[in-house]
Symmetry: C3
Subunit: 289 residues, 3 copies
């Protein structure tokens, strides 16, 4: 009989996320080992417990999920997990990062945009692009080939993000701009896509600017707490046409995000050497539409 | 296929109760997510993880159980859980409180008494009525319609409990008395039922007073640590007739308590909007006898 | 239907061991309740939650596993667990100690030695015999009837271990020696078996001494971190013949250790009153070979 599937769930918050746990069991995980308050120096024995307990052919039935509200902390834990895997000896398990849902949310937003316009030639604007979701969405849009404006209220912070993306995606065509404080008129110029990924409860783009922008085809607001980040877009909008623009709200993107999240957890158990970070999760997201 | 059942177990003690966990899995819970040291300010994301992960038709397969040795702390956590449910949007799960087993124990004791006498016309005495089990037993007896003496060694504490019950049960016919220190002769006058719910190891009612009380039909001692709270009643008494009175000890009530506990956990998964606190647990207890 | 199997996993480290958890579910455990940072004063309610929740005939479907990196702390927790079981009333569950894998590792090493030589008449040397694995291996070898040299770099520490074994195994034929610092020539004299159980990364026995010892038949190095504890023995050696001596490295013993570990966890659920400490685990190890 097959060994049961085990998901090692490493969460950087004191109480491991119930959200991620429910999604894990709904994805078919049989035994979920959740740890809260995980710091990098605690990771080694936890990972060794995964790779030294099952034979190589059964290692694909063990996997690691890194979560928690702090995306930077999650990235550090992911790096530490990878450090203690030994794929050169076949001693490895697949691992996924989705701290704060940042990877699945960014992937869902970009997949939604790609339903309405060819991303390889689209002009995009990402508002709140210095946060974890915004950075990831901008990186995916740039990798798809279009021109991407990276916006932050402080231009130097946007510049830093743009520089980072140029390193990760050499062909990236990105430009840093100062925007997101409620005036997005210039930043929207010739844009086909706008994604608002700012802090909850901040209105970043007034309706009049959105409506005045003739080229705009897709507006995605990832803010789940009123007021909307993009004025006039509603929480439940899901390809809702407003003023000749396809609009998505946080809950409208949420259904796709959930599908991606579950598909990624399931995919962890199909091999023992996968790392699901933003690119891999986006590739999967494109497959499932 | 049905989604697996998930019980979110929030315990106010550092280590979540093994007792409650075994009962949960013996009630058929498939995935038990137990959290220890839960404080009110940690509750919101835990509850959101329940209501935002499953579609409305599947929400009845997620539920919340609040436990721990501190009943007041559990009540605060229950209130916080309810604050973050959103039944108006159909985003709700059922929730049960049984900190320190207080609800299931009080319900079991009153159900046991009701097997031998009509509670709507019975005269009762609750010794140690200021503790969580005593308060709940007194409230159920008062709601059933009989006359209830609320006893504490300090009469003013008994008065406070009586006042609280009169608020919750407007028709309550309750009277505060000073008793429980080993002399219960006056308090027992014309009583048909006595329930001792005091601190472990304190003898509250001497055998001679119990035997001298001609009207007494039921004596229930919830104290599990010798000496007995009601002298002469044994731990394993379960409808044991002593001196023409039906006697129950802590273990004798325990079997009924366990049945009620399991039935309540199972009932959580039959709907998504139930709150199982003392009244609802007692209603269920009456159904299963 | 049978009640599900429940393993209460008490770990003295802050994060309960993933290794022990994977082995538990691979042994068929259905519900694994893992607790980290367990201190003796927290044990009573955890054990009571095991013995007061199921009827006597179902108690064999609940068991306790004590683990963690600190063997002495585990022994204290095991003693506390046993204190709160009530086998005289039939209120008991089986319990196993395997902190740091010490019991299963020592049993696996001695079983491996016994495949090649009659332990009742063998002369053994245990290097690093004051650590938890070394002490246990020495005790098992002494109980089997052979002559055992207990080695530590500090002879007085070896004497203390020898004295302890003489108390536990009255017929023990043991001798304390100073060895393990890299010169084992005298200590090896007339030995048939050597087991190195010292701290990781310390070379305790040079190859030239091992090769020069004509009587040596079995060399087992339990050190998993290079350099080898016994020079020339490799991590993966498993009955590998080197210089007319059967050699085992840490990974070579690991397969047997894992089989013993799983068999012991399964055996916990065949009765409700077993205590699996080193002797019982070794008895089981001999059965499964």
């Amino acid at each position: 009989m097959d060994k049961p599937t085990v998901l090692l769930h490493l969460d950087t918050d004191p109480h491991p996320s119930v959200f991620d746990r429910v999604v894990a069991v709904d994805s078919g995980v049989q035994h979920l080992f959740s740890y809260g308050g995980v710091k990098p120096d605690a990771v080694m024995p936890l990972v060794h417990g995964c790779i030294f307990t099952r034979g190589k052919k059964d290692l694909m039935r063990t996997a690691v999920f890194v979560g928690g509200s702090d995306v930077a902390a999650g990235e550090t834990v992911l790096a530490e997990v990878r450090k203690h895997l030994m794929p050169m000896f076949g001693l490895s398990v697949s691992v996924m990062l989705d701290s704060n849902g940042a990877n699945t949310t960014a992937a869902a937003a970009v997949v939604a945009a790609g339903r309405h316009i060819d991303l390889s030639s689209a002009n995009s604007l990402v508002l709140g692009a210095t946060g974890p979701v915004g950075q990831r969405a901008a990186r995916l849009l740039a990798a798809a080939g279009g021109h991407v404006r990276i916006a932050s209220r402080q231009k130097e912070r946007a510049e830093a993000v743009a520089a980072g993306i140029r390193k990760q995606v050499p062909k990236a065509n990105v430009e840093a701009v100062a925007a997101g404080g409620g005036d997005a008129e210039d930043a929207l110029d010739e844009r086909n896509i706008v994604i608002a990924a700012g802090a909850p409860g901040v209105m970043m783009l007034p309706a009049k600017h959105r409506i005045a922008c003739d080229t705009l085809r897709v507006a995605i607001d990832l803010n789940g707490v009123p007021p909307a980040g993009i004025e006039g877009v509603e929480l439940n909008d899901q390809a809702t046409n407003r003023d000749d623009c396809w609009c998505y709200g946080a809950l409208g993107v949420g259904g796709t995000k959930m599908k991606i999240h579950k598909a990624a957890v399931k995919a962890l158990f199909t091999r023992s050497d996968a790392v699901f970070d933003i690119e891999q999760i986006y590739d999967l997201a494109k497959e499932i539409g």
